[in-house]
């Protein structure tokens, strides 16, 4: 313990050097900015900046900056989710559900504030946990093999059906649809293309960013443009900026649980921030005394997931730094950044580059404080966006989304996808179908499909491998309980009463 403290102080002594503070600050500002701009995400930003770090004379500074872009984007991502129902980055999809509802009710201020505060608490908590027990958790990360990933994906799919305000039956249909679209692309096990229709850009599957941007953001803009005349887009009243006492009470537990869940999921390579926020949302809905409020502006539905995705962003540094295993696309780019600086992430990094290891971790404490100071005052500014009429805001967002999507891979197919997804999002919105379960299932489909096939290969074709390994068996067990409980409460409450459609106007 004392040893850890010493090392953290050593790290802090490096992180507070003026040039490193400046790097962290630049990264935080940049991260917040790209998090806010729809379509532009941390992956593109870090990838674009990567070649610039080739010549950097100071490896620690360069890595501090790249890392702070990552967690900075997690803060920024919630802003447009709440205000416009445009997920700034993928992990904020869940925040759209209740955050946007809150904004419609004139509670955009509290939603934005709680997102920033929750992110701060989760981010800091996660870094503390990381500093003390991080390296020990590395073993947990590799214990996740194909059977465990499959079980986790199934668990996620079951939870997906129950997010949003609709009935589980409707949610279930959207989940199936999401799986279908998630299967587009090259099959991992045979190398054969599925549903790609000869389009090269589809060989890797439908890209997540244009899909989410279109389905949520553009769909919502189109829907709003239709409501001509009155600016019913969002209520023009803005209200308080900070949460009231009741909202605090509802959020506190959610932030705590979200932080722990996010931290654990972030440790698993391939788990990532998205699953963390999905889990947190479902847990909050299940634990809530007023589950019917979820999907209609429950603050816990913003506080939990936003905390979870920040905690996961921090803890994903454990597999990255101690095992050299990038858990998601962003950490994969960071991994390359480390290699370029001649730092080999992996089991020996603590021995060979303690300055980088502890410097980066300590800079995350500093970065989280910067982000809170940066983001809280901005809440007042962001809510003013709601005053902008939809016929100006809509096209502006569309433009940024096109730009952001194109910047991903400089590929026009992705832009066409954005448009198609936008049209689909509009139809779903009109039909009062939730895009949330669709998006979650889309993300989980690939994990489920690949891990099932890998697990079967490992188990010589016997499905028993999934229930014979303790970790995957426990996840399957929990899933079964959730299914039984959901079906039970669905019938007990009577479908008409409990699952009335929320008013969509």
């Amino acid at each position: 313990m004392l040893n850890s403290l010493e090392q953290i102080f050593y790290g802090l002594s490096l992180a507070v050097l003026p040039q490193n503070l400046l790097y962290a600050f630049m990264g935080c500002v940049l991260g917040t900015l790209v998090g806010v701009l729809p379509g532009l995400g941390p992956i593109t930003t870090i990838a674009v900046l990567l070649p610039l770090t080739f010549q950097a004379s100071d490896p620690l500074g360069a890595i501090i900056m790249l890392a702070s872009i990552y967690y900075g984007a997690m803060y920024g991502g919630s802003t447009t989710s709440i205000l416009l129902r445009v997920p700034g980055e993928a992990a904020s999809v869940i925040t759209c559900i209740d955050g946007y509802e809150m904004a419609k009710q004139g509670r955009a201020g509290p939603a934005l504030s709680i997102a920033a505060i929750g992110s701060f608490i989760a981010g800091t908590g996660s870094v503390i946990a990381l500093s003390f027990v991080g390296p020990a958790f590395a073993k947990f990360a590799v214990s996740f093999g194909p059977p465990e990933y499959f079980a986790l994906a199934i668990f996620g799919l079951v939870l997906s059906a129950t997010i949003g305000g609709g009935s589980p039956a409707r949610g279930f249909c959207m989940v199936l649809l999401g799986i279908l679209f998630g299967l587009v692309g090259t099959d991992t096990v045979t190398g054969v293309e599925r549903f790609a229709m000869g389009v090269p850009a589809l060989a890797d599957g439908i890209d997540l960013v244009p899909l989410l941007m279109g389905l949520f953001g553009l769909g919502e803009i189109l829907y709003n443009l239709e409501q001509k005349g009155e600016l019913s887009v969002l209520t023009s009243k803005i209200g308080r900026l900070l949460p009231n006492r009741e909202e605090w009470k509802e959020s506190a537990g959610a932030i705590g649980r979200g932080s722990v869940l996010g931290f654990l999921v972030g440790l698993i390579p391939g788990g990532g921030a998205i699953i963390g926020s999905l889990l947190s949302y479902s847990v909050e809905k299940k634990l809530s005394k007023t589950p019917e409020k979820f999907g209609r502006g429950a603050i816990a539905g913003v506080a939990g997931p936003e905390s979870a995705n920040n905690a996961a962003a921090s803890s994903s540094f454990v597999p990255l730094l101690t095992l050299g295993l990038p858990g998601n696309a962003v950490t994969a780019v960071l991994f390359a950044g480390l290699l370029i600086q001649n730092v080999q992430p992996g089991p020996l990094m603590l021995v060979k580059n303690p300055d980088i290891f502890w410097g980066v971790i300590a800079s995350m404490y500093v970065g989280n404080v910067m982000l809170l100071i940066l983001n809280l005052p901005l809440v007042g500014l962001w809510v003013q966006l709601l005053r902008v009429p939809v016929w100006i805001l809509g096209p502006a967002v569309l433009l940024v989304a096109i730009f952001g999507t194109y910047s991903l891979r400089s590929n026009w197919t992705d832009v066409s996808l954005l448009m198609i997804a936008g049209g689909a999002g509009y139809v779903l919105r009109k039909a009062a179908l939730d895009a949330g379960p669709f998006a979650m299932a889309f993300i989980l489909a690939n994990i489920m499909d690949t891990s099932l096939r890998q697990a079967l290969l490992m188990g010589d074709g016997n499905i028993a491998i999934i229930v014979s390994r303790p970790l995957s068996a426990s996840i399957i067990g929990v899933t079964a309980v959730v299914v039984i409980y959901t079906v039970y409460s669905y019938f007990k409450a009577g479908r008409a009463k409990k699952y009335e459609r929320p008013d969509n106007s």
Partner: protein, 315 residues
Amino acid sequence: MKLKRLILALTAACALFAQPANAQYPDKPITLIVPWAPGGSTDQTARVLAKAAENYLGQPIIVVNRPGASTTIGMAELAKAAPDGYTIGTLSSTGYLVKLQGRQLSFDPIEDFSYISYYGDNLIGIAVLTDSPYKTLKELVAFGKANPGKLKYGTAGVGTTQHLTIEALQRDSGAKFVHVPQQGSAASAPALLGGHVDFIMETSVWAPFIESKQMRLLAVSATKRSDVYPDVPTFGELGFKSLRSVQAIIAPKGLPEEIRVKLEIAFRKALSDKAFQATMQKLAMQVVDLPGADVKKLVESEYALAKELIESTKK
């Protein structure tokens, strides 16, 4: 009408300027298409190599990343580019192996390109956990022969150089292993660490774990032993075939020979650059110098061998 005239005038002007330009190639920056995402091994090595080649060409080389669809998006763009020496690209074995997966491509991955130079091979090797009972490739093969289908192995994916080399090993030795394809090289190391597969055939993702003594390297598929792992035998020494993990510089088909030669000289001279060699070493890659004409022959023979292997796995 006005616009049309303007376009005509511009085209004429371009043609006029293009003529003498050919004589003193290059007189403007050159674009190098890397069909991989930024930060990967090809991106890192191609960038330093391009930087070194700039010195011999007198013009900057701008690296652009066109990732996706197993390099075929970037390769298609390169195939369509004008063969004027101002658009060149990198070739990895993935680019032609993907055709063997039955994928419809808008270009021929071998015939539609001119070959400028070679620059190296990825070091691919078989790794097991340190506490694994197999100390040599021979022991592993013997077990695979006695217990067909018992051992599972991971690679970056189906149809990759890594996978096909193990297919060749099985065909030539009679051993039988089960392939559990992973989603990319980075996923293979955790699969082995967690004990989800028995061995992996991978690019240097095992390197940090060899150093930390968590993994053991049984053999490498390279033309000669690696300087970093002088004790580890090559597949060839042990009597097994292996495929090359090609890294080359190419251009669209129809590149004028004098331009191709200029590029070849520049890129082959660049191989002796210190920064380039350091980057290759860091990624456990071997620098290999080959003339452009030999690169095409190498690619053709690799393609033929891969095709043969894939057909034998289908039986």
